[in-house]
Symmetry: D3
Subunit: 201 residues, 6 copies
């Protein structure tokens, strides 16, 4: 009968404890946008995994939902060592440099538990498979839903997020993602019309 190897138990606990810091790490893009006490990276990852699951299940074509979920849970692990470099920083640290740093950190964190996790991280980063593209899109759909939520709570100064469509509303070739971005934007515009009518009606 197969048995659990003892060192795996230790490594699992190591990883849980090290990733714990994501619960205290603020999403830096929102911090720069004037949100005090923004959501944590861990809370973001939860909502991305949930969004990705809902997407995988609503897709008109077959999707390996398990891989979608695994990638969603792993896609930010490197931030436990590198922290959350926001969009603004990409003007100074090349996207490739950032990506290479994240790859190395993800490998150092995940490799000791199971090499397969590092491969999943690579698949997400490569953004080629349908599953990876769903998670890439979910990452931004969650972000724009959160922007909508902050606006409803009258927090921060996030108007710029709606202007950067190419980066923030990239659907990665997934039609469902396009529809979700449209629905979120529709509600944003409806809120704006609502406050116009309330104001001048």
């Amino acid at each position: 009968m197969p048995v659990v190897k003892p060192f795996v138990v230790e490594r699992i606990v190591d990883l849980i404890l090290e990733l714990d810091v994501l619960e205290r790490m603020p999403r830096m893009g929102f911090l720069l946008g004037g949100i005090t006490h923004p959501e944590s990276v861990a809370a973001h990852c939860y909502a991305v995994a949930l969004t990705a699951m809902l997407m995988a299940d609503a897709m008109p074509e077959p999707v390996d939902a398990q891989r979608v979920l695994r990638m969603a849970l792993l896609h930010e692990v490197s931030e436990a060592r590198i922290t959350d470099l926001p969009y603004e920083a990409l003007e100074y640290i090349h996207a490739q440099t950032k990506s290479a740093a994240e790859r190395a950190a993800a490998q150092d964190l995940l490799g000791p538990v199971d090499r397969a996790y590092a491969s999943l991280w690579e698949e997400f980063e490569a953004a080629e498979t349908l599953e990876a593209r769903i998670v890439r899109a979910a990452d931004k759909i969650q972000m724009m839903a959160k922007v909508l939520q902050y606006e409803r709570e009258r927090r921060g100064n996030l108007a710029d997020f709606w202007g950067n469509v190419e980066y923030n509303e990239n659907c990665w070739g997934v039609a469902l993602a396009r529809k979700l971005f449209e629905e979120i934007r529709r509600r944003h515009e409806q809120d704006e019309r609502g406050s116009r009518i309330e104001c001048c009606g």
Copy 2:
């Protein structure tokens, strides 16, 4: 060619927006234990899903990891409507009453998107399948790892958590869970010995 039904898009966005509150909801058991600004319910769910994935993959027997992940992501959704009733409240609100309330809230939240999600919630609650028991155990393994972490950060007054073994370290018949609880407790005791030696050595 199958198409995404429009109302599904709306319902997905509804659910994402409603569950967003979990990011601001403190884990009440930790609040009662003297932790100011404890982790959020959303951050807890992220760490439980991660723990459950690591467990499913380390199990010596075959496990349907996909169902494990789905249950982990869904197991606290009812708290968006009912809030997080801590262990202490169970002396006054019967576990069955709490469970029935959570069931109804989970159904109201998840049913409009897909009845299958409500079934997964039921499977978790019933705690009979191997997959459900893994998530039940992961829920407590994450909690005790967080207790260990808070102790290392010298926050709060959580000594009681180590005393309630039956409830807090329930392994739900999963041998791997037992090993993980033991490993966490071993580190806790090692920390305590360390501070004894540092203090009196």
Copy 3:
């Protein structure tokens, strides 16, 4: 000469220490309404006691202000064990179930000090005496004044609170309460007109 019984001293300190958690417990209805770091239950109780005192003293008929003040100070003690179940939760946990749980918790907390405190809690809950009705109304008057304050500070998304008149602006048959709700609503509407004029003037 009568003397203080020693165990009373111990029980008083027990109660003060256990109720201390109310200082860290967020008002959950505001949390659900998008207020980050809302007022604590303890701060709410302070403001309710103050409001109830001002009301008792402004009533055109005789009122036992002492009983009013005692009820105001005791009306939320059960939340130290059960936490603060918001309005939204009442759809899933019957008001009677909640009330029974609160009664039992209040008795367990207050009984060991003096049974008279548990009786005051009952009087508040029954909402029959004039004194109890004043505190019931003060509980909501404070809440709506806080909603007004949050709006002035541009926090959260509390518009729904103004729509639920039956529950949130229940005057419990106290004419003065009606006037206070009207005055708060008058200021709310004045603020709204003010921002309309500022905006379109």
Copy 4:
């Protein structure tokens, strides 16, 4: 039949709204003592009123509990305008200067509602009547209970509070207050012994 005068309603709402800031005002003495996010002035007032009620009811001699409660609720109102000057500031701002400023602020806040409230504030400040002395003692009993609580939560650096017995544990001639201070100190010393035994046992 006597009627409520309309302006009273306006003034009550004015006072509730102005005192609302006490919910956001940190207790500055705790802030100086290294407590991040200490209790608010409003939460302190709640706990003082509760403590004073428990004391009034446990006194071996007759006490006008109503006056006790009123003074407890009013004793910090001036801080809504002057803020909370801690003990350390008294080396630079004479106690009399501080007291005169608080008196003027209390009168400006309370006078427009009812002159009787300003008189109650004076009675508290004068600290001569039994009722006033109970509230003065309760103010410090609550503070030392909070210090005990912070120590149990391993927050801050409050050891100095136990050394300043004359100021921090002034019982104002109330024997019951002496017993309460002793009981709190007994628990503090028991905790210290406990951690010594745990450490070196």
Copy 5:
């Protein structure tokens, strides 16, 4: 060869440690204005020093920038002992009383390190030299820039700050300060017009 006297090292560390509390001390005027978690006094001092440096370097006449910078860094040190008395408190504590208390606290803090620091504090307080007037103006320019920033983040209720021109936009006879206040106000008005157009356009 001159040597550092040992006690100076101790006194430098004493001062650094005591002024550390400014990092946790909220700017009380903003707290009264409905800002939750406002900037700290230390963060304010950083921004004032930066503003004063930029001003000193942009002045058309010669300025001793070093003295400007030293005064900016020292101008709030007394708050480590007295806390931050806001504008509202000046109605009750005479400006001269406040100034005398601050002087004594500044001397007690700075004197043991070097009497010259206490003199710089005096120079700032006297507001006569060009250098002192630049820092006095910078203190308010930073404040009004922060008000603008809070408005952009939709926090609090700071409209009153724009009305108190004499106190909040005092340029202390420095023409450049006048221009900076005008520029900040111009942006504030532009924002207001922007939201009017967005709203009614």
Copy 6:
């Protein structure tokens, strides 16, 4: 007569507003070390400038204190765009890559106001002049003083900071810095002995 060029006024206000985010940006190394709500980057800069001033004035040899102060105020400006990359991240992002990114960001921020500021940033980064080395050392002295402070407040898990002497207590060839590090470490060890004696005495 020389006049202030209008665009300078605009650029000064631009810079003040953009650097405002440093007040909300947590020091990430402390966050990774388990400190919830650590000091902000702005508060750190204030304390570094203060420390550097005290050092410059206590040096046995002549120092251009003005340049010291300017460098201290400017040394972290790039973090407004790149955020605060902690020590742990340097394993994945080369120190040179980080330095080049910071240089570019500092130039973009400071250049439009005055090229001289960018040069001061370069001088700090090169760490060759005595003035630059004082600020480099002050940057770490402030950090270790803050570690001492957090330990006294029993926050976080910062023991590792005392072990990394080469990086955290680099005196950059400044003898006074060595003495300050020694004094801070002496107090740390004295605290540890104190708690040992208290515990086992």
